[in-house]
């Protein structure tokens, strides 16, 4: 999916998600691939009581058999298939929702990791959509999904990226691998004041689910 239009300046909290773009040849290969985000004024830190309580409530909805059945549900299945299609093994590099489900079984509950992680986790558990957060003040321009060019590197990562690696990038450089590590300095850290909550959409994930996930995460952060 290629969304056109320019990025809007953010004043306060604008709840309408911004649409990023996907490199045309990738959009042809992977119809339905997209990136959208919401910027929100928020500081990373300890999660407030209601957020921790919500995580506890969500913990009670996840059981072993449900987790096994999870991969048959449309949105988690869509991410699993996309992981396969880009060469990853979703049982090793787990999709975000499956990683959360696995952690829930392993730890006995969804543990609180503070904000923004808890906000993203709540939204992912509720919708199944893959989310991540960046320090919005470090990003320049619109986000995109593209493949790395020859000799391109990622901050904090020694050496060059293998050409053709799928990345999330701003208008300057890669800010993270697609469904992988975040570039150094771009993650939400203690000194961050504004966060970009980013959703990666794949074929089979409805637009409404992406918007809901972003709103939910942004509302939790605020």
């Amino acid at each position: 999916m290629i969304a056109m239009g320019s990025a809007k300046p953010q004043i306060g909290w604008d709840p309408s998600p911004e649409q990023g773009w996907v490199a045309p040849h990738l959009a042809t290969e992977f119809p339905g691939l997209g990136i959208a985000w919401i910027e929100v004024d928020a500081r990373p830190g300890r999660s407030p009581g209601p957020v921790r309580q919500r995580l506890r409530g969500l913990s009670d909805r996840f059981y072993g058999a449900q987790v096994i059945r999870l991969r048959e549900q449309p949105i988690p299945w869509a991410y699993r298939v996309f992981f396969r299609q880009i060469g990853l093994d979703p049982d090793r590099t787990r999709t975000p929702i499956e990683q959360l489900a696995f952690d829930r079984l392993h730890d006995g509950a969804f543990k609180s990791h503070g904000l923004p992680a808890d906000a993203l986790n709540v939204a992912t558990i509720e919708t199944g959509v893959a989310l991540r957060a960046f320090d919005a003040d470090r990003l320049e321009g619109r986000l995109c999904i593209r493949d790395s060019g020859p000799g391109e590197g990622m901050p904090g990562r020694p050496g060059e990226l293998a050409q053709g690696t799928l990345i999330v990038a701003d208008e300057r450089r890669p800010v993270g691998l697609l469904f992988g590590e975040t570039a150094e300095g771009y993650a939400a850290e203690a000194e961050s004041r504004r966060l970009s909550v980013v959703a990666i959409q794949v074929n089979g994930v409805p637009q409404i689910a992406v918007a809901e996930a972003l709103w939910m995460a942004a509302a939790t952060l605020r």
Binding site: A65, R69, W77, I86, G87, G164
Partner: protein, 164 residues
């Protein structure tokens, strides 16, 4: 003949093959196989271990070429076939055990000390059927055999008491 050979190597006859459609079709097949494999894994959950892993093709995400997609599709197809085989075999064992249980209930003395669990029948939960003598050694000597049904899963309170 030399004319024909010359024509075959003519640049006008060289056709560039667009592999995009082939890749799209392979991706569609991978999606369908992934769904089947997930369903088979869920079907076997708690009954039998279904081999479902297919190793990653690459270390980091990228667009796979036709050959890689084909290999991935073939491996997934192989896993699906293996999983179906495992489940069929498990189903056969469970049907045999159901028959054994039916015969055991009909004639407990013919199946002395045989124990069939709910697991053996592919049923969820705890419990078993056990062919045992009534009144212990007396029943053994007299040939008074019966099938005793266990009372199911231990209650959480009793488990906690054991731990204490």
């Amino acid at each position: 003949m030399p004319d024909l050979l010359a024509r075959e190597s003519s640049p006008a006859l060289l056709v560039e093959v667009d592999e995009r459609l082939a890749r799209a079709e392979l991706r569609r097949q991978i999606g369908r196989l992934e769904r089947e494999l997930s369903a088979l894994l869920a079907e076997g959950f708690g009954r039998v271990a279904v081999e479902h892993r297919v190793e990653a093709v690459v270390a980091e995400p990228r667009v796979l070429d036709l050959g890689e997609l084909e290999r991935l599709r073939d491996e997934l197809a192989e896993r699906v076939a293996d999983a179906r085989g495992t489940l069929r075999e498990q189903e056969r064992i469970e049907v045999d055990n159901q028959e054994l249980l039916r015969r055991m209930i009909a004639a407990p003395a013919d199946y002395k000390w045989v124990r069939v669990s709910r697991d053996d029948l592919g049923l969820p939960g705890c419990g078993h059927w056990h062919s045992r003598p009534r009144l212990g050694p007396i029943g053994m000597l007299m040939g008074w055999w019966r099938v005793k049904v266990s009372s199911g899963c231990p209650l959480a309170g009793r488990l906690a008491a054991v731990e204490q």
